[in-house]
C-alpha cells in the first residue's frame, strides 16, 4: 500500500476474531451503551481506526510516523474546530506523547454548545461505532482533537 506520493505505508492485517472472543465485546456494550454500532460492521481485527480512516477498511496502521507521512503525502490540511464539516478526519492526539491514539471520520460538525462532533470510528478490534467524539475509550491518556481535510482546490 502506498501514499499519494508513492511512499510505502507500514501496515498489517491481523487474525480474525473467534466467536469466543466476540463475547468479550459485551462488556463494551455495557460500558458504552449510547454509541451505536454501525450495522454490518461488527468486530474484526483486520483493520483498526486508522485503517478505517486512511486505508479503506483494508488493514491496520498503528505507527505514528506512518500516519504523519499519510497526512503529509495525501495532502491533508488541518482545519479548526469551527470549520469542521462532515467527512473531515478527527485525530485524538495524546497530550503527553503526541501519539495518535485514535482517529475517525466526522459525521456531523461540532455542536454549538459543547463543540463535540459525532464521528464514525473503529474501536481497535471492536466494531465500527457512531458516537459523540468524547463518548469512547480514548480519553485516557488525556488527549485533544485535531481535524484534517484533503483540500483539492
Amino acid at each position: 500500500m502506498e501514499s499519494a506520493k508513492r511512499n510505502q505505508i507500514d501496515n498489517c492485517q491481523s487474525f480474525e476474531i473467534s466467536r469466543y472472543e466476540r463475547s468479550f465485546f459485551d462488556d463494551y456494550r455495557r460500558e458504552y451503551p449510547r454509541p451505536e454500532r454501525r450495522l454490518g460492521a461488527g468486530p474484526t481485527a483486520r483493520y483498526n481506526c486508522h485503517g478505517l480512516t486512511f486505508a479503506s477498511r483494508r488493514t491496520r496502521i498503528s505507527d505514528n510516523a506512518t500516519l504523519q507521512m499519510i497526512l503529509r503525502d495525501d495532502g491533508y490540511s488541518e482545519v479548526s474546530a469551527t470549520e469542521v464539516q462532515p467527512g473531515d478526519v478527527i485525530i485524538y492526539v495524546s497530550d503527553e506523547s503526541g501519539d495518535m491514539q485514535h482517529s475517525g471520520i466526522v459525521l456531523t460538525a461540532p455542536d454549538t454548545l459543547l463543540g463535540i462532533p459525532i464521528v464514525l470510528s473503529k474501536w481497535g478490534n471492536y466494531a465500527e461505532v457512531i458516537h459523540a467524539a468524547n463518548d469512547c475509550p480514548y480519553h485516557d491518556p488525556p488527549c485533544y482533537y485535531k481535524y484534517f481535510r484533503v483540500k483539492n482546490d
Binding site: 472472543e21 503526541g98 482517529s103 481497535g124
Partner: protein, 169 residues
C-alpha cells in the same frame, strides 16, 4: 509460570481490544492493577517465559495476547532493568506480539515517567542546534516537532530538552 486463572485479566483484555497503537496500550496497561500484580508476583524471567509461550502459540486467543502484553508492561515496572535485559536475553521482537518491541523501545526511551509535571517554556527562547554546525534555529521556525523533557537520573540536577522532529505538528 503465569496461570490465566491466577490473574484477573478482564481489565487488560478490555484495554487491548480497543488499542489502536502500542503507546496507547502501554500507557493504559501501565496504570492497571493487573500489571501491578504481575510485576510484584512474578520475576522478570517468569514474565519473559510467559511472553515467549504465548508468542509461540499460533492458536492464541486475544485474552492470552492481552495478558502477554500486560506481562511486557509489567517487565517495565521492575526496578532492576539489568535483570529485565538479562531475562530478555537480547530478544526484543516477538513475531506474534509485534507491539512488544515498541513497548520496550518506549520504556527504554523513558517517554513514560512515574510522575508528570507542567513545564512552561517560551517558544521564542528555545532554539534547535544543528548537529553538524553551531547554527541554531528558533524552535518556532522548525515546522513539525515534538518535545520531551529528560531529567538526568542519579542525583543530577540538570535537565535536557529533547526535540524530536516529526512527532507533532
Amino acid at each position: 509460570m503465569i496461570e490465566l486463572p491466577d490473574v484477573n485479566s478482564r481489565e487488560v483484555k478490555l484495554i487491548y481490544l480497543v488499542a489502536n497503537t502500542p503507546y496507547y496500550l502501554y500507557r493504559r496497561l501501565r496504570s492497571t492493577n493487573t500489571v501491578e500484580v504481575l510485576a510484584q508476583r512474578y520475576s522478570a524471567v517468569e514474565l519473559v517465559s510467559f511472553i515467549k509461550s504465548v508468542d509461540a502459540d499460533e492458536k492464541r486467543y486475544m485474552d492470552q495476547a492481552a495478558l502477554a502484553y500486560a506481562a511486557a508492561v509489567a517487565l517495565t515496572r521492575h526496578s532492576d532493568s539489568a535483570g529485565v535485559d538479562q531475562a530478555l536475553g537480547g530478544q526484543e521482537a516477538f513475531s506474534g506480539l509485534p507491539w512488544i518491541s515498541e513497548i520496550l523501545r518506549v520504556w527504554r526511551a523513558g517517554r513514560v515517567g512515574l510522575y508528570s509535571a507542567s513545564v512552561s517554556v517560551s517558544m521564542a527562547q528555545v532554539t534547535r542546534q544543528d548537529r553538524n554546525s553551531a547554527a541554531t534555529t528558533p524552535l518556532s521556525e522548525c515546522g513539525q516537532f515534538g518535545v520531551r523533557l529528560i531529567r538526568e537520573p542519579a542525583r543530577s540536577t540538570s535537565s535536557q530538552l529533547i526535540v524530536e522532529e516529526g512527532l507533532l505538528e
